[in-house]
């Protein structure tokens, strides 16, 4: 624990379950989301999208559309600045500003059905939509590729013929945008010493993050060049940075006001509409509002990659893993930047391998540019590796948790992605699962139980927070991260703990880009961890100031003053009445003015989070339908600041992973057109599909965080796919290697066996 650790200190708020600060606004419908903003004289914007998977744009004629009454502005690729090639960082997927700009609005050619070609602003939404029909685009249709196999064939059409390396040198023509290799030892040699080797290949399909709120924004560009954007995203500073970059604006010209967010899960760590809305507002001189339809969300924004993964593990007959090797091909979509690097890093991460290697390839296809989705890249990798571990347990006749315990990564072990682990809680999480009543509960015919594990890193990145003491003794905290999973509550609780005041006396607001220092996105399970650390640091600085002010009031040396139980006290003189927050703040004008502090930093102390899930399924042999009948998820949270939110994260991640396993997939026709672009045909699990998901929190504190926090938001989606598929195998005896394990696929497999 760090010097200012809370270990051994009694905690009043951390670990409790106070009422969530955003609850009333949300359940009463008063919370304002991206589409809830309006301005006087506002226009409506819509986007013309490509009907082709791959085509050259010969000509765009907007004259007829501009003549339509009510149309005020149109932008095409020619109207946006050409952006130089420069690395950007979008969620998990590093990409290139030039490519980002081309994804926002096509230049020269389109790369997928749904690719934006032009944007229109008009006085009504209907007029803007009508104008889209009047825009004439002359396409030269090009051959397309829709999966990694056809994209890597020798004669594959090229999605891009101008890919460059870091030095700007053109690469050899290929749809392989990037390759990555990591690991240690010599797996090839080690496999020869193995008593058993399992070598299997797997496929997964592109899936949607499932956020309910579509992308939406309102932008207003003033005559003075100042721009304001109101939108829902996972990072107001991300929106500001990308929009300014793509339009050639100074960051100081752009203010982004964050709305509440109706789900993001990684899908809102990039921009689609905001630069277009600003460009339309600049041209029309009026505010422009843009809201995607559900169909647009599916066709034009980024899903998680479809993948092909091969995993090979060799072990001794006693169950010792000797070597692991994996080959991961991830679809990037029409622009480089899948999550294959993270998949390659996490695939063997839960286990101690002397010899491990992963080979990842980022592959271009004519589909929407993939985007981050909760622990990006890791769930597909976990599906592959945990299925193989399940195979090994069966072949070696070893209990699957015993096998994982025998090989579990722990402190000091060299991870498969390089560094040695610091204190982690994987062993404790496995033990908790093994000791839980679920693990030995009896099963009925056609039922099976699966177990699977997974990890996710947590990101540190850059955070800022401001903490202010108000005259009445309440405390205001400003965070620069949209609250997508309970960060207002967790930040308030840590601040209340530091000050020794009631939780209700702390108000947390999410600041716009002009009211708080820079913050990286709300992603990477990082806000409670990283921004929380900044809140703690700023609170401690404010407490130092409070002690100084109290010392001035008492006219004593500040070294004699300390802070305890929400009050400044003189250490060696109990006769002096302690001063509370309100008393010091009320008199602040006489002792030096307002009391506040800002903390900013590149945050270290990332703690890995491991999860282990138990899943029971029941299979209907007549229909192939698979029901999850019991599910228990165990996760090391480091320390759960607000256990209800942690449980919610675990339940949400499990539900998403179960959907990914059982039903979810983007279905494209041969022309590259998505056939299920709505929640009716894209089947996500709803409450009636799932049992209560029991969340069990394990607490192995992160030694590098003042409250022991490990990020919890993403790890819960890593184990569910293999937990479901391993359960299905236990129930049916059939090995499933392709997702989703939907009723037709299950029925086909059962028929083949029978």
């Amino acid at each position: 624990m760090s010097e200012k650790s809370t270990e051994g200190r009694p905690l009043k708020w951390v670990g409790t379950r106070p009422v969530r600060p955003d609850g009333v606004e949300k359940v009463t419908g008063r919370a304002r989301y991206g589409a809830d903003f309006a301005r006087p004289d506002m226009l409506w914007g819509h986007v013309l999208r490509s009907p082709h998977a791959h085509a050259r744009i010969r000509r765009i004629d907007v004259r007829r559309a501009l003549e339509l009454d009510g149309v005020k502005a149109i932008v095409t690729g020619d109207d946006l600045p050409e952006i130089a090639s420069e690395q950007a960082f979008v969620g998990e997927e590093p990409t290139d500003y030039r490519m980002l700009s081309q994804n926002v609005l096509a230049r020269g050619k389109v790369g997928y059905v749904g690719h934006a070609v032009a944007a229109v602003a008009a006085t009504t939404s209907a007029v803007a939509e009508e104008a889209l029909r009047l825009i004439e685009v002359d396409y030269e249709i090009l051959p397309h590729v829709l999966d990694v196999l056809s994209a890597t064939a020798d004669d594959a059409p090229l999605v891009h013929d101008d890919l460059c390396d870091r030095k700007g040198v053109k690469k050899n023509p290929s749809n392989i945008a990037n390759e990555i290799e990591m690991g240690h030892g010599d797996p090839e040699a080690a496999f020869t010493n193995a008593d058993v080797v399992v070598d299997r290949s797997f496929t997964t399909q592109a899936v949607h993050q499932g956020y309910i709120e579509p992308h939406a924004c309102l932008a207003e560009a003033g005559p003075d060049g100042q721009v304001t954007i109101w939108c829902s995203s996972q990072g107001q500073f991300m929106v500001r940075g990308y929009t300014a970059k793509l339009l050639g604006l100074d960051l100081a010209q752009v203010r982004v006001v964050p709305a509440e967010i109706g789900g993001g899960f990684g899908g809102k760590t990039t921009v689609y509409l905001e630069p277009l809305a600003v460009a339309l507002s600049q041209r029309s001189g009026r505010p422009v509002k843009m809201v995607m339809s559900r169909e647009e969300v599916f066709r034009a924004t980024g899903p998680a990659s479809a993948t092909r993964i091969r995993v090979k593990i060799g072990a001794t007959k006693e169950g010792q893993f000797l070597a692991g090797e994996a080959w991961l091909d991830y679809e990037a979509g029409a622009f480089p930047g899948s999550s294959v690097a993270a998949g390659s890093m996490t695939i063997f991460a839960p286990y101690a391998f002397e010899h491990a290697r992963s080979h990842g390839r980022d592959i271009l296809v004519n589909k929407p540019k993939s985007a981050a989705y909760r622990a990006p890249g890791a769930p597909m990798a976990a599906f592959a590796v945990e299925s193989v571990v399940d195979d090994l347990a069966r072949q070696l006749e070893i209990d699957p948790i015993d096998l994982r315990l025998q090989n579990a990564a722990r402190e000091g072990v060299q991870s498969s992605f390089g560094p040695r682990y610091k204190r982690i809680g994987f062993v404790e999480t496995l033990q908790a699962a093994q000791e839980h009543p679920h693990y030995d509960a009896p099963l009925q015919p056609n039922q099976g139980r699966g177990v699977a594990a997974g990890m996710w890193f947590n990101a540190g990145l850059q955070s800022s927070a401001a903490v202010m003491v108000n005259a009445d003794g309440s405390v205001s905290v400003i965070s620069g991260n949209p609250d997508i999973g309970g960060s207002r509550a967790s930040l308030a609780m840590m601040a209340a703990e530091e000050f020794g005041i009631e939780y209700e006396k702390v108000g947390v607001r999410i600041g716009d880009t002009a009211s708080v220092g820079y913050n990286d996105v709300t992603g990477g399970s990082r806000v409670t961890l990283a921004t929380g650390k900044m809140v703690v640091e700023a609170s401690q600085e404010v407490i130092s100031q409070l002690c100084e002010r109290a010392a001035k009031v008492w006219d004593v040396d500040v070294k004699r003053v300390h802070w305890a139980d929400g009050k400044a006290k003189v250490l060696d003189d109990e006769a002096i009445e302690p001063l509370g927050l309100a008393e010091i703040a009320t008199g602040a004008a006489r002792t030096g003015g307002p009391i506040q502090a800002i903390a900013s930093g590149s945050v270290r102390g990332v703690g890995m989070s491991f999860g282990v899930h138990l899943c029971d399924v029941e299979v209907d042999p007549e229909t192939g339908k698979v029901d999850v009948i019991r599910y228990t998820a165990f996760q090391d949270a480091g320390r759960a600041i607000h256990p209800s939110y942690v449980e919610g994260q675990i339940q949400g991640g499990a539900a998403q992973g179960i959907g990914w396993a059982l039903n979810e997939e983007y279905v494209f026709d041969d022309s590259g057109r998505l056939e299920n672009s709505g929640f009716l045909d894209y089947r996500m699990p709803v409450a009636s599909d799932l049992p209560m998901i029991d969340a069990v929190i394990i607490e192995v504190p992160n030694p590098d965080h003042p409250y022991g926090v490990r990020g919890v938001g993403e790890a819960p989606i890593v184990p569910p796919i293999p937990a479901v598929v391993n359960a299905l195998r236990a129930a049916t005896g059939v090995c499933f290697s392709d997702l989703p394990v939907s009723p037709p696929r299950v029925l086909e497999a059962l028929d083949a066996v029978s």
Partner: protein, 81 residues
């Protein structure tokens, strides 16, 4: 001197070595040391990257301190969703 572990993709710059010892009290100094020993390597490490210093992963770690016995791994940047 710190032990530095490089991604396999950089092996051509080091004659195949993936584990090297380089002097330097910060990541910046370490990269300068790597460039002196293996010309061209610094440019490969100049983009957005993460470094694990004794197991602690740090994004954009230019000025992070390196101990004399530290293990330093250069990694792809880790973000999230």
């Amino acid at each position: 001197m710190a032990r530095v572990f490089l991604p396999r993709s950089l092996a051509p710059y080091t004659g195949g070595a993936l584990e090297v010892e380089v002097p330097g009290e910060t990541v910046r100094a370490l990269i300068a040391g790597l460039e002196a020993a293996y010309p061209g390597l610094a440019e490969q490490l100049s983009g957005r990257l993460a470094v694990a210093i004794d197991g602690d992963i740090v994004a954009d770690p230019y000025l992070e301190a390196i101990g004399a016995q530290s293990e330093v791994h250069f990694l792809p940047p880790v973000g999230g969703g």
